[in-house]
Symmetry: none
Subunit: 132 residues, 4 copies
């Protein structure tokens, strides 16, 4: 099962809503279960460098079927996955990439970048929750 | 002056509307005056290869301040810009990339890919017209 | 629906069988409906440069839901899609990329490279037919 | 001497067998002595991001004629090879890449990714052992 554009737009809208609530400016990416882009929005004034980061966070989550920050716990110096970020044309392994599920099935992922990783994660989670 | 997310979403919505009218499945990209991504939507079932093409069409239009198809007229074998597609990480020089203007000022561009170049252009133009 | 490893292996085995029949040395790639790699085999002595070409043919077919050679008919100088090969990190638009369907549904694609495009296509078709 | 497709398929089959025994879903790559791809299989449901990682592990092993994890011991912050992962289009320096030898001669390498690095290594070793 794959996320639809309608579901992706709902996730983006919820993420924008959460961004306004937190007073932050975010880049928001939604990919499908094949890690291919479905929807993207950049809030006015959001960091340009976060366009790519939001995409890489969404892909990273789907690539390994876990939130992007989980990868980062294992990829630190001395960790078992140190340097994994060099794969797949570049991964982002800090929080802000969250899986989108329908029941138990992964149908896509959302990546958010533009503020602290805590806020990035909160906004991504809000987007993912809107589809459930 | 730069396109806002609200204007970009209006362009995407108009492009989706036009796609439904033509019964085609499109990938739609909007970039700002800095050629940076603002909004993207992929209609369910649209070609995966057209994600990248819609982005390259939008950027190509803004990179040279003309619709993408204009470049293609000059980049044929023997033409003055032959091979220009090799620049900028890859250009797309056939129709479907259209400038977005506010009055005389270029505020962004829209790129559409997913069907014939004629339909791609029509949908992109509908998106651009929604912002004028 | 997505091609399984078992189906992909069946396609590769049929393609190898056909290659032996034609006395050619091929690289054979199978991707899923998300254009992600599922299986690959290089027959001993097959061209090294055809590893990448077989991958790009398979992806090109899935990217646009048609056999790779169909793209090439439209991407010649003066054609409506001239230069499309510059997209998606490089397309291959000559024959040898064939869709894999289950009934009417596209579940993946196979790309073959290593000999004439006629033989490349024949071998790819034999692979695709083994899954139907 | 170079690994044959038959040997590579034997390695992949053994790796799949070991994966089933460990109840893990793996991506498995075999390269030849020239570090060029010979065979690849992705078990149904295996991580998409591990396609590339399994390839990079196999190449990393053959590039330096040692198991991939050996590189990682030297590439930590302060280590003599810190940052080596930036070379060759991206290396993976944690376990899961294992040399394939015939007697004393290196004839290829196998890279496995999809679970813990311990399991990745076990599966790769099982694949390599099948060729010896």
């Amino acid at each position: 099962m794959n996320i639809t554009l309608e579901q992706a737009q709902k996730a983006v809208a919820a993420a924008i809503e959460k961004s306004k609530e937190l007073n932050v400016k975010m880049n928001i990416t939604v990919v499908d279960s094949g890690a291919n882009l479905v929807a993207f929005s950049r809030i006015d004034g959001a960091w340009l460098g976060s366009i790519d980061i939001s995409m890489k966070k969404a892909r990273t989550a789907r690539y390994f079927n876990m939130n992007s920050g989980e990868i980062g716990k294992l990829s630190q110096p001395g960790g078992s996955l140190f340097g994994i970020e060099h794969s797949n044309g570049g991964l982002i392994s800090f929080p802000g990439g969250v899986l989108i599920k329908k029941g138990d099935e992964i149908i896509g992922a959302i990546g958010v970048s533009g503020d602290s990783v805590e806020n990035d994660h909160k906004v991504a989670q809000a987007g993912a929750d809107a589809v459930k």
